[in-house]
């Protein structure tokens, strides 16, 4: 493989110009993807060892790639992670070098994640998730007190956000900001806090009598949906991001787990209609509650709407918990993917983070919904659950 590191000084500039040049090439999209049944893209990985190889394999696997011999591969990925990461991607049939990059600065891990992102962008024409973050709750004993954590999406570099030693739950990212909402019992009541991770400041935005939980932030960051019981039973309420302008949105008998549609116009939530647990959606302006078609699965809860608007992931409970995905427009029945609960979409609208129980401990995993490939990403002691992917 030809390595042609000519002038490292030009790098940032070259990256921009090459991206511009690539945009003008003819690109044939392979868009036929079926949830749970799509074949992974076969690549051969060569020259990488240790941490760089581990990062590349993890990142690519959970974005729909598989690792095969050079003979069986569609793309050849060659390079080195010695000292710093550099590598190339070659289309095996045309012999065309599609990507050739070197990285410096930060850690070797971050360099490898950045290369994985460039591979995904080159082959799938979509931004990769290698440098994204997740938040989750971690409990030493599996119930009771715990803390909210933030980590890289593969579980590395976990850092505690809270130090309350109180029950904490359901972190939710503010889109495009380093800030979370979460539930904490720090004031001896389940209250919803806003917490800026860059300033370390936090504030209660919903501290009403009874239950304040399950915060979900609108895609533009301006509004909150949440579960409050101040009126006498748990229902879905919406408010401005600072908690003001509170509005009672639903009056169902068993409402829980609100999430926003990608266009910010709908709230999808779990409820009970005619004695059956269902997923439903309601306009943020209020009005009629529309039941979603979840034929074939029972007890749906915890919906999460993909950022591209196409999919709704949720948890079904049929004996065990399962992660399910269905088209948001209801055109196809849900597909049951793997055992687990609490799914949260990555910004790429194809990878989910979720938790699943093993030996009465909750572990985090990352799942590519199209190929159904998944890997555990728990690197923190205790029981880890309710992951939320930063978008």
């Amino acid at each position: 493989m030809k390595k042609n590191i000519c002038n490292l000084v030009t790098i940032g500039l070259a990256a921009v110009a090459l991206a511009g040049a690539r945009a003008q090439e003819i690109r044939i999209e392979n868009t036929i993807k079926i949830v749970g049944m799509t074949k992974p893209i076969p690549v051969a990985l060569d020259g990488f060892t240790g941490e760089a190889a581990e990062v590349l394999k993890f990142d690519l696997y959970v974005q729909g790639f598989s690792f095969v011999t050079p003979e069986a591969a569609q793309f050849l990925i060659h390079g080195s992670g010695a000292g710093s990461v550099s590598g190339s991607v070659t289309d095996k049939v045309s012999r065309r070098v599609m990507l050739s990059s070197s990285y410096n600065g930060a850690s070797l891990r971050r360099q490898a994640h950045a290369f994985a992102n460039d591979i995904v962008q080159t082959i799938q024409n979509k931004p990769g998730i290698g440098l994204t973050k997740i938040a989750f709750k971690s409990q030493p004993s599996g119930f009771g007190g715990g803390e909210i954590y933030v980590a890289d999406f593969d579980g590395y570099g976990a850092q505690a956000v809270t130090t309350d030693r109180a029950i904490a739950a359901k972190p939710a990212w503010v889109p495009h900001q380093l800030a979370l909402y979460y539930t904490s019992y720090a004031r001896n009541n389940p209250d919803i806090f806003y917490h800026s991770l860059s300033s370390g400041q936090r504030r209660v935005v919903a501290g009403y009598s009874g239950l304040n939980t399950s915060a979900s932030v609108s895609p533009d960051g301006s509004k909150l949906a949440m579960v409050l019981s101040k009126s006498g039973s748990p229902n879905i309420w919406i408010a401005n991001a600072d908690g003001s302008n509170l509005k009672h949105l639903t009056t169902g008998i068993e409402d829980s787990s609100p999430c926003w549609s990608a266009d910010g116009q709908w709230i999808c939530f779990a409820t009970k209609i005619a004695e059956r647990r269902r997923l439903a959606k309601v306009s943020v302006a209020g009005g009629a509650v529309h039941t979603l078609n979840t034929a074939g699965v029972a007890n749906p809860t915890e919906p999460d709407w993909s950022p591209d608007g196409k999919w709704i992931a949720f948890t079904s409970q049929m004996g065990d918990f399962s992660i399910c995905v269905m088209p948001a427009d209801g055109s196809l029945a849900p597909v049951v993917l793997v055992r687990g609960e609490n799914p949260s979409w990555a910004p790429n609208s194809r990878t989910l983070v979720f938790n699943h129980e093993t030996g009465h401990r909750q572990l985090l995993s990352v799942l590519d919904v199209f190929t159904k490939q998944y890997k555990d990403c728990t690197r923190t002691a205790g029981s880890n659950s309710q992951p939320a992917w930063a978008k």
Binding site: N4, C6, V9, T10, I11, G12, L13, A15, V16, A17, L18, S88, S101, Y103, G105, A106, S107, A114, D118, T132, F143, Q159, I167, A169, K170, Q177, L178, T183, P190, Y194, S198, R203, V204, V205, G207, Y208, S209, G210, L211, S214, V227, S229, K230, G232, S233, N240, A241, D242, G243, L246, H248, T251, E254, D255, S256, S257, T301, Q317, F321, A390
Partner: protein, 208 residues
């Protein structure tokens, strides 16, 4: 858009640089990554950071003071939390009246009504005492579903007590979902104990 503003001058710079260095086609791009990670709460490298001014709470200095929208039919709005500020918890006084629930149900069973009556009677003796109802679930069911279910159990007991003559102003509810089991086991024997509403007597703070 920001990207366009960056691309044009950079492209010009690239042309100049390429002319100066004579790099061949296929030069690998080198991506400079931002520095090492910093602790959460620090000010260093962060993707997509707080860009908008945000002052949660400022517009809402007293969250409990918001106007209450129309309540559900048949539901009594919850009493203000401030009414219970500083009260002393007595978890023993009403311990024997704990109410248990069927799986995934917030219905107070017929057989449990004597416990509700006993709690109402206990509250009737001392007007200054109040009540905290803790709603709990077994470990089956997802976490947030159970947090709502625990609240529905506490709310159902609260409605039953209001019907039995207790003023709604004297009752506070809290849901622990599946976070506060009395038996951490993983079988029906444990689950049936954990699906419950506990009554905590609240006494006026000392010296009042």
């Amino acid at each position: 858009m920001k990207m366009n503003q960056i691309v044009f001058p950079l492209t010009l710079a690239l042309v100049a640089t390429l002319a100066a260095t004579g790099c061949k086609k296929g030069t690998p791009k080198l991506t400079q990554l931002p520095g090492q990670r910093v602790p959460v709460g620090g000010t260093g490298e962060q993707p997509n950071l707080d860009t908008k001014p945000f002052t949660p709470g400022d517009a809402n200095p007293n969250p409990n003071g918001n106007p209450v929208p129309p309540a559900d039919p048949g539901k009594t709005a919850l009493a203000d939390r401030d009414l219970f500020e500083g009260m002393i918890k007595d978890a023993e006084a009403l311990k024997s009246y704990t109410v248990h629930f069927a799986f995934d149900s917030a219905v107070v069973k017929k057989g449990e009504e004597s416990n509700v009556s006993a709690v109402a009677a206990a509250l009737a003796t001392t007007a200054a005492n109040k009540l905290l109802i803790e709603g709990n679930c077994d470990e089956r069911g997802t976490e947030e579903y159970n947090r709502a279910l625990g609240e529905r159990r506490a709310d159902a007991l609260r409605e039953a007590l209001v019907k039995a003559g207790v003023s709604a102003d004297r009752i506070r509810t809290i849901s622990y979902g599946k976070d506060k089991p009395v038996d951490p086991g993983h079988d029906e024997a444990a689950w049936s104990k954990n699906r419950r509403g506990d009554f905590i007597l609240l006494l006026p703070k000392a010296g009042v």
